[in-house]
């Protein structure tokens, strides 16, 4: 899922101050799971903004809401009434949601309420870590299901490097060495021979190096 982190209240206040009607708008999929951008977080942020606005003697009306996903037309259609009634929308979606909301309602100012941090997993309640960098050419079948692009600090295609130390990465003892993990996982699975296969330099054309990416399923396209 996409993980995000709410911007500091100070930064958010600086963005919205001066507007009369603010809609704090949550996205109830990825960023709700990490407790940063769902409807519940929108309500909490809305309450904080009301408290701040009152103390600042600002004449500000703050509404809150949310939809299942801000990255799909079908859901954004449901938001029309709430969006049209606001001067500015503070979106708590990921960067994709903020932009799509702005594309759907180009006459409205849409502000980002959180920073999109990474694609990751829920390690434990409240703890998240990165797993995928969306390189567009997955090699997990060769690496025991552990992504060296994401989890090796150097994104090495073959490893480990000389900085691997007792299973930790040289950048920080708390960061596990991805290639150490890959070795151990492949051995445990009886696929240790895969470690001898040389993985050639990656063609980054499928990643961001090839510019903004797009994909289309012809059978589903209208």
């Amino acid at each position: 899922m996409i993980v995000g982190k709410q911007k500091s209240f100070e930064e958010i206040w600086d963005m919205v101050r001066g507007y009369k009607k603010v809609l704090v708008f949550g996205c109830n999929t990825c960023v709700a799971i990490c407790h940063e951008g769902g409807s519940k977080e929108a309500e909490i942020l809305g309450s904080l903004l009301r408290m701040k606005a009152k103390q600042a003697n600002g004449d500000m009306e703050i509404d809150t809401g949310g939809i299942e996903r801000q990255c799909e037309h079908e859901y954004l259609d449901q938001a029309t009434e709430a969006v049209e009634g606001a001067d500015v929308i503070l979106s708590l979606a990921c960067g994709a949601g903020v932009q799509f909301l702005g594309e759907k309602f180009p006459h409205k100012t849409v502000l980002p309420g959180l920073n999109t941090t990474f694609i990751g997993v829920v390690d434990a309640p409240g703890e998240f870590s990165e797993r995928c960098q969306m390189c567009g050419d997955c090699i997990l079948h060769l690496t025991g299901g552990i992504c060296p692009i994401t989890r090796c600090s150097k994104s090495l295609m073959n490893g480990p490097c000389g900085g691997s130390n007792n299973g930790s990465c040289e950048i920080n003892p708390d960061v596990p060495c991805a290639w150490h993990m890959i070795h151990e996982r492949l051995e445990a699975q009886g696929r240790g021979h895969l470690i001898d296969i040389f993985i050639p330099p990656k063609n980054w054309i499928t990643s961001r190096a090839g510019g903004p990416r797009k994909q289309k399923r012809e059978d589903l396209a209208t």
Partner: protein, 61 residues
Amino acid sequence: MQHLKTLLIEVDIDPDRLEMYNLSAAMGPKWAEICTEFTERIKKLGPSPIWWADRDRKTKE
């Protein structure tokens, strides 16, 4: 609860103004005790910054 208290500090509200207690419906005396203590705490803290802001606005009107 700790997170909400941190957020309240962001808007200059004393986090002592917020507390959560877990009680069953059968704990009436404990409930009364908590209410008394919490009321005392709020009285000591005095009016909130929002109350002052409201009062200032009304005075200007």
